[in-house]
């Protein structure tokens, strides 16, 4: 698959990840890496159409990045550095940035990188994917799709 096709696979259904221009170059690189990880690992829910899924992936990845951006300085800096290093790490293996790989290869690269002996990407991926699960299953569309909807006030679900 060439570079153009890869980009197309990343920007599926015309939903292009619009990065936050106020985050600076570093922030945008991190945001793109987060989006690429989220898009590849987002769980499938049968009743959510592929187009909706891509839209949700984008919303979720923005929330994940926003949460990282608000982390205390001493956590945020290593997290950003690791994210950029991770994005570049696939250059060694696949010859392309992680965020430019197709989803299958992104998933494979994440599995390999978890066990990387030199740089410990495991903690970064654990953080990213945990936040992804938090925001994904918190999403009203997903909760509706799996039949679990939070009702305000006294929960009728809980009754």
């Amino acid at each position: 698959m060439n570079e153009t096709e890869n980009k197309h696979s990343v920007q599926s259904f015309g939903i292009e990840p619009q990065m936050n221009i106020q985050t600076g170059i570093v922030g945008r690189r991190v945001e793109r890496m987060v989006w690429a990880a989220v898009d590849a690992e987002l769980p499938y829910v049968a009743s959510i159409a592929e187009e909706d899924r891509s839209r949700i992936a984008l919303e979720v990845s923005k929330s994940v990045f926003e949460r990282m951006r608000l982390m205390p300085f001493f956590l945020r800096v290593p997290c950003y550095l690791l994210a950029i290093a991770f994005d570049m790490s696939s250059l060694l293996v696949c010859g392309k940035l992680f965020s430019n790989l197709d989803s299958d290869r992104r998933r494979t690269h994440m599995q390999i990188a978890r066990r990387w002996p030199i740089v410990r990407f495991g903690e970064l991926l654990k953080l990213t994917l945990s936040l992804m699960l938090l925001y994904y299953f918190d999403h009203p569309r997903v909760r509706h799709a799996i039949g679990y909807e939070w009702r305000t006030g006294v929960s009728e679900v809980g009754r």
Partner: protein, 500 residues
């Protein structure tokens, strides 16, 4: 009377009081109420925001951002890093806990008494517990109203012949909204926010939210008050509070950090003790509708003497997915789509060693805990017991918080998992209880504060949070913290040497 939020401050301000209390959780709110009730002028400074019952609706992620320190992402560094969660809002962690209020276990109190600490005998502490339990409407709930996770836990205990007890919780008419960790949206949970905070306000206490204390103003061994940085939108103002006494109740990590920043180092932050929480998802062959009924109504009490407790946990697809995260993509997909058959359990284990709170001059405390071999042994034992319990209750698959592990279907699976010299770094450990980082004690060489919380080497700085406990309680510490603060405040008020 209301809470002064950061928005109410328009310039640098100085005020004075008899007592300034840093923090508004279990310790701070109790101290505020008792001191205000005794006629003292009280100012409470809370770093977090002021959010009321009607604010506790909406997405979990948003509420975690509002109510938790660092949105629930404070790490305790080590191998593995431990995810530590604590409240950062008016009411502190009582706003986001499950309202479980076990009295201090007898063997723990007995050990503390053994160090010579006075007024910890049965006759002294029982009336305190009784008063607190009345004020917080602590009661056990009907098992018939329980959710399936609690009922299955009881079934498992009956199969194995294990002791279990109904859980005492601070609640009135819990309506099973199942949202304890993000603030009770019905006001049923009797957190500090709806009990001692309003009571303190009614007695004239002034409470400022969005106020992070950065400095303890000193004159020799005497504190003259504190300075806080108050956030009002994008602006920050200084709030100076002059007071006859300073009570530190920011929790076991923030209190030692504030002390270290201000040059108090003796036994400060060096004895941190935590509880490890290890979660597991159990799936059952039948739909159990885990969201229906009251959460956490029963707990395994068979292993109290070992400071090990097994219980059910709040259920939500978010928590389910997060607990399954170490098992990867496909397991998360499969189990969350069948969430009606799943429930979440946890085993809580007391640490064997001690951690540290460090001032690394990064503007935040750094916390470190080195997992000992004994910790790993206890965690393995706890997980084994949890697996035994849920299998006895009829679970088909048990997913432990161990990265890359396979689902456990029988004890032999567990043996295989544990015998492979399990790397502790694969464990996904949470903690919501940190204690004993500035312990009180009779021996000044081994404690940070005297028998009633007065910081050694000072005339009027008191520790009034979980940090002053002599050690970890093993069980949920809220009522222990409150009882110890009650005991200390009563002594401080009665003793003229404190000049309060």
């Amino acid at each position: 009377m209301t809470v002064h939020t950061g928005n109410s401050l328009e310039s640098d301000t100085s005020i004075s009081a008899d007592a300034v209390i840093v923090g508004s959780g279990a310790g701070g709110a109790t101290a505020a109420y008792l001191l205000a009730r005794a006629g003292k002028e009280v100012v409470v400074l809370e770093e977090g925001g002021y959010h009321q019952t009607e604010d506790f609706e909406g997405p979990i992620g948003d509420l975690m951002g509002k109510l938790y320190r660092d949105a629930g992402m404070t790490p305790i560094l080590g191998k593995p890093a431990i995810a530590f969660a604590e409240g950062c809002c008016v009411g502190g962690s009582t706003v986001i806990n499950g309202g479980l209020c076990w009295r201090t276990p007898q063997h723990v109190l007995s050990a503390w008494r053994g160090t010579g600490l006075p007024e910890l005998d049965e006759a002294s502490v029982t009336p305190i517990f009784e008063e607190l339990e009345k004020d917080l409407s602590i009661s056990v709930q009907n098992i018939s109203d329980s959710n399936a996770a609690s009922r299955l836990l009881i079934e498992g205990c009956q199969q194995l012949g294990w002791a279990w007890e109904r859980v005492p919780r601070a609640q009135i008419d819990c309506s099973n909204s199942n949202r304890c960790p993000t603030g009770c949206p019905t006001g049923a949970k009797q957190s500090m926010l709806v009990t001692y905070i309003p009571k303190a306000l009614n007695k004239g206490a002034r409470i400022y939210s969005d106020a992070r204390v950065t400095e303890i103003m000193r004159n020799g061994s005497r504190a003259e008050g504190v300075t806080a940085r108050v956030t009002n939108g994008s602006k920050t103002f200084r709030l100076k509070v002059k007071a006859k006494a300073v009570f530190l109740a920011g929790g076991s990590i923030q209190t030692p950090y504030l002390l270290l920043r201000n040059g108090f180092t003796h036994q400060v932050g060096t004895n941190l003790q935590i509880h490890f929480n290890l979660k597991a998802v159990a799936t059952f062959p039948q739909d159990i509708e885990p969201q229906r009924g009251t959460m956490m109504t029963a707990q395994v009490k068979q292993f109290t003497g070992e400071d090990m407790y097994i219980g059910s946990s709040n259920f939500d697809p978010v928590y389910l997915a997060l607990t399954l995260a170490p098992h990867g993509h496909s397991v998360v997909e499969r189990v969350t789509q069948n969430w009606r058959k799943a429930s979440i359990y946890l085993v809580q284990v007391k640490c064997a060693g001690t951690g540290k709170v460090i001032n690394a001059r990064l503007g935040r405390p750094m916390t470190y805990y080195k997992l000992l071999a004994e910790d790993v042994r206890r965690i393995h034992l706890g997980l084994r017991r949890l697996v035994q319990l849920v299998l006895a209750a009829g679970a088909e698959d048990v997913f432990l918080s161990i990265a890359g592990s396979s689902p456990i279907r029988c004890e032999a699976d567990l043996d295989r998992l544990m015998s492979n010299s399990l790397d502790p770094r694969r464990l996904d450990i949470l903690s919501v209880h940190a204690m004993a980082s500035c312990p009180l004690g009779m021996d000044a060489r081994t404690s940070a504060a005297d028998a009633f919380g007065l910081l050694h080497g000072t005339d009027n700085i008191f520790i009034a949070d979980a940090g002053m406990l002599p050690g970890a309680t093993g069980t949920n510490p809220q009522i222990t913290i409150m009882a110890m603060v009650y005991r200390n405040i009563m002594s401080i008020l009665a003793d003229r040497k404190y000049r309060l």
